[in-house]
């Protein structure tokens, strides 16, 4: 059988792809409508996907709308990126049991599971790439992350519609997936153009024996991607980063944003790249057993900045500045890339709608143009 790298599948035949994945032993996971948004969940059939739904996102607001169309991937994304699949919100690391002469430990490495994720976006893939860099590269690989990550088969969907909050084009991460996927789909009218991005993806394509994609359809898909990039209304100017943010350390805009920021940590929880975690001990009352687990943490919590008798980031201003400066500036020094992939989740899921692109643009303005408005954080009411 010849290796296939590209093919088309009609919407009505989309179930064939799901069937092929199931036959290979994958649990299928896709976006499902739940509580007014889409969340990742196990799906059984195509009709479990959010057919005909579209999401509208703006700062601090997310709404779904049913358009009545047959579009399978009309919803761009929900609050979750790919982050929870490999870096889980709570990961037991080791079980400790007291023994006669001390203690014994038992590793709680997760069992590997084959999971096919259907509908990852280019920004999500970029985020996962950054997480891979953090957890898998270098001298110390994280075995928990590696086990979960190893079981993933990723089917990306190229975006053909931009949200109000998207700015992936300016971060050079989307709207079309470049790498990091096994298969990538583009929904063009009632056809799905499928490209393989890995050997496993290519094997699956071959097994499906799809009809080849016409040049016309391929061109149409590329044009939809270009139009999507063009239509993005938000952007982040990276040309002067990281230096310009270091220079903005004393900018009055930090006070302004601190008056609005709740330090609730939603931005960091939904961020596809934020990797902060804490390790927690859960002993039982008999003092014979304890579980050592890792759970998602955030640089916006009080405890995160607490180091040996002192909190080094006591105020919301300290924390917001830390987050943005790390994400957009020192991340570049640390990892060689920006920590932001332009998915816009931090904008949508901020309860008070703080817009990262707007804050950065204000922070990068010269001192003469600086805003002088600021409200003290402590004052209740206005």
């Amino acid at each position: 059988m010849a290796r296939e790298t590209c093919g088309i599948l009609s919407r009505t035949n989309f179930h064939r792809l799901l069937d092929a994945l199931s036959a290979k032993g994958y649990r299928l996971v896709g976006p499902m409508v739940h509580d007014g948004a889409v969340v990742w969940d196990t799906i059984q059939r195509v009709s479990d996907l959010p057919i005909g739904w579209r999401d509208h996102q703006e700062p601090g607001r997310y709404r779904l709308e049913q358009t009545g169309s047959q579009e399978i991937f009309g919803v761009v994304h929900g609050p979750q990126s790919l982050k929870p699949f490999a870096f889980t919100p709570r990961e037991p690391l080791v079980q400790i049991e007291r023994s006669k002469d001390g203690f014994t430990t038992r590793s709680t490495l997760p069992s590997s599971e084959k999971v096919a994720i259907i509908g990852a976006r280019a920004c999500d893939l970029a985020g996962l790439g950054i997480q891979d860099q953090i957890f898998l590269q270098g001298e110390y690989q994280d075995p928990y992350y590696a086990t979960r990550r190893g079981g993933l088969f990723i089917i990306a969907v190229n975006c053909t519609r931009a949200l109000q909050t998207c700015f992936c084009a300016s971060m050079d991460t989307g709207p079309c997936a470049k790498n990091g996927f096994d298969l990538a789909l583009t929904e063009v009218d009632d056809q799905l153009l499928i490209e393989a991005g890995s050997e496993a993806g290519s094997d699956l394509l071959s097994a499906l024996s799809l009809s080849p994609a016409s040049q016309g359809l391929t061109r149409q898909a590329a044009a939809l991607g270009d139009a999507c990039a063009q239509s993005q209304v938000r952007r982040l100017d990276r040309t002067r980063l990281p230096q310009a943010l270091y220079e903005a350390h004393e900018h009055p805009r930090w006070d302004d944003v601190a008056a609005r920021c709740l330090a609730c940590a939603n931005c960091t929880m939904v961020c596809p790249t934020c990797f902060c975690h804490k390790v927690e001990e859960t002993p039982d009352l008999t003092r014979q057993n304890s579980e050592h687990s890792r759970l998602w943490d955030s640089c916006f919590t009080q405890e995160h900045g607490y180091i040996h008798g002192k909190n080094i980031r006591p105020t919301i201003k300290d924390r917001y500045r830390m987050w943005v400066t790390h994400k957009l500036a020192s991340w570049i020094d640390q990892f060689g890339t920006s920590g932001c992939v332009g998915c816009g989740r931090c904008i949508t899921w901020c309860p008070v709608g703080i817009d990262l692109t707007e804050e950065v643009s204000a922070l990068l303005k010269s001192s003469e143009q600086r805003s002088t408005s600021s409200r003290p954080q402590e004052a209740p009411g206005r």
Binding site: L262, A263, P283, L285, T301, Q302, P351
Partner: protein, 299 residues
């Protein structure tokens, strides 16, 4: 308010006391039953729900009874042993002259005093009287109001005596209570989260009810610990675990209630009295929530 559970403990003797509890607990687990640290559970103005959370420990209740000598717990047992107690759990707020005296006696009998629940920690829902006229309430509710001996205010335990640790919630989370007891028996100062409910929501994979449904959720300024129960059921958090981080006099800075309140008003179109009522609820007398609701009274 006294210091919350967390990072700044100012009782200089506490470390010695916790060390002593640990020593007793060790001896007890080695067979010296008589050495078990003694527990007293005391009730003031409250609904008993937090005490029921202790009884709801069910699976762990036997282990708890083995680890501690449950010496005074009228809700659970008619056996009443006099103090002193290594550990006192105090439920309820101070609403009468008599209780204001009794809490001093409890403090004298207790080596470590922990308040359990919104009433003991922040004055409870009955602290709404602090904005009203108790005399007129009495006239309306009771046929013989002169029988009612009551203070004009409902105040948290920490306004009367020193409190070592505070457990928030209406009711408290039984897991948190067990954790605090486990830590004390192990000789460790308990540390409970002071972060926002939002972290628990996101760890559970919940969709934000404020962003996706426009509900006026107090989660961003409310401390974690409940497991995000209400948002997990599609409801907005009403702040029963109290303000995140520090209270105004405790460690840490108060949460940014002003920004959230402004968003309730400007973004979610709540009128000022509705904003006020969001903050003036079960923990309405907790300082950051109290000051926020007072600020909206002026509008």
């Amino acid at each position: 308010m006294s210091q919350g559970i967390g990072l700044d403990i100012r009782n200089p003797q506490l470390e010695t006391i916790i060390g002593e509890i640990r020593r007793m607990s060790r001896l007890a687990s080695n067979g010296l039953e008589s050495q078990r640290p003694r527990l007293g559970v005391f009730k003031f103005a409250s609904c008993d729900g937090c005490q029921l959370s202790i009884l709801n420990l069910e699976d762990e209740l036997l282990a708890l009874g083995q680890a501690l000598d449950i010496a005074y717990f009228p809700e659970a047992s008619s056996t009443i042993d006099s103090g002193p107690y290594e550990l006192a759990l105090v439920e309820g707020s101070i609403t009468t002259e008599e209780d204001a005296h009794r809490i001093r006696f409890v403090r004298e009998q207790a080596k470590v005093l922990i308040t359990i629940g919104a009433c003991a920690t922040a004055g409870g829902i009955q602290a709404l009287r602090n904005w009203g006229d108790v005399e007129s309430f009495k006239q309306v509710v009771y046929p013989s109001p002169h029988y009612i001996q009551s203070l004009k205010t409902s105040t948290p335990i920490a306004e009367h005596v020193h409190v070592d640790f505070e457990l928030w919630g209406c009711p408290i989370d039984k897991g948190q209570l067990l954790r605090v007891i486990t830590d004390l028996l192990a000789g460790v100062q308990p540390r409970l989260p002071v972060e926002s409910v939002c972290l628990e929501c996101k760890r559970r994979g919940n969709v934000c009810v404020m962003v996706a449904k426009g509900l006026a959720c107090l989660g961003p300024v409310t401390r974690a610990g409940c497991g995000a129960i209400c948002p997990s059921m599609g409801r907005d958090c009403y702040g029963c675990f109290g303000p995140t981080e520090g209270t105004r006099k405790g460690p840490g800075l108060p949460p940014n209630t002003a920004s959230l309140a402004n968003h309730f008003h400007d973004g979610l179109h709540l009128i000022p009295v509705e904003v006020l009522r969001r903050f003036r609820g079960i923990n309405g007398y907790a300082v950051p929530f109290r000051e926020e609701s007072n600020a909206w009274e002026q509008r």
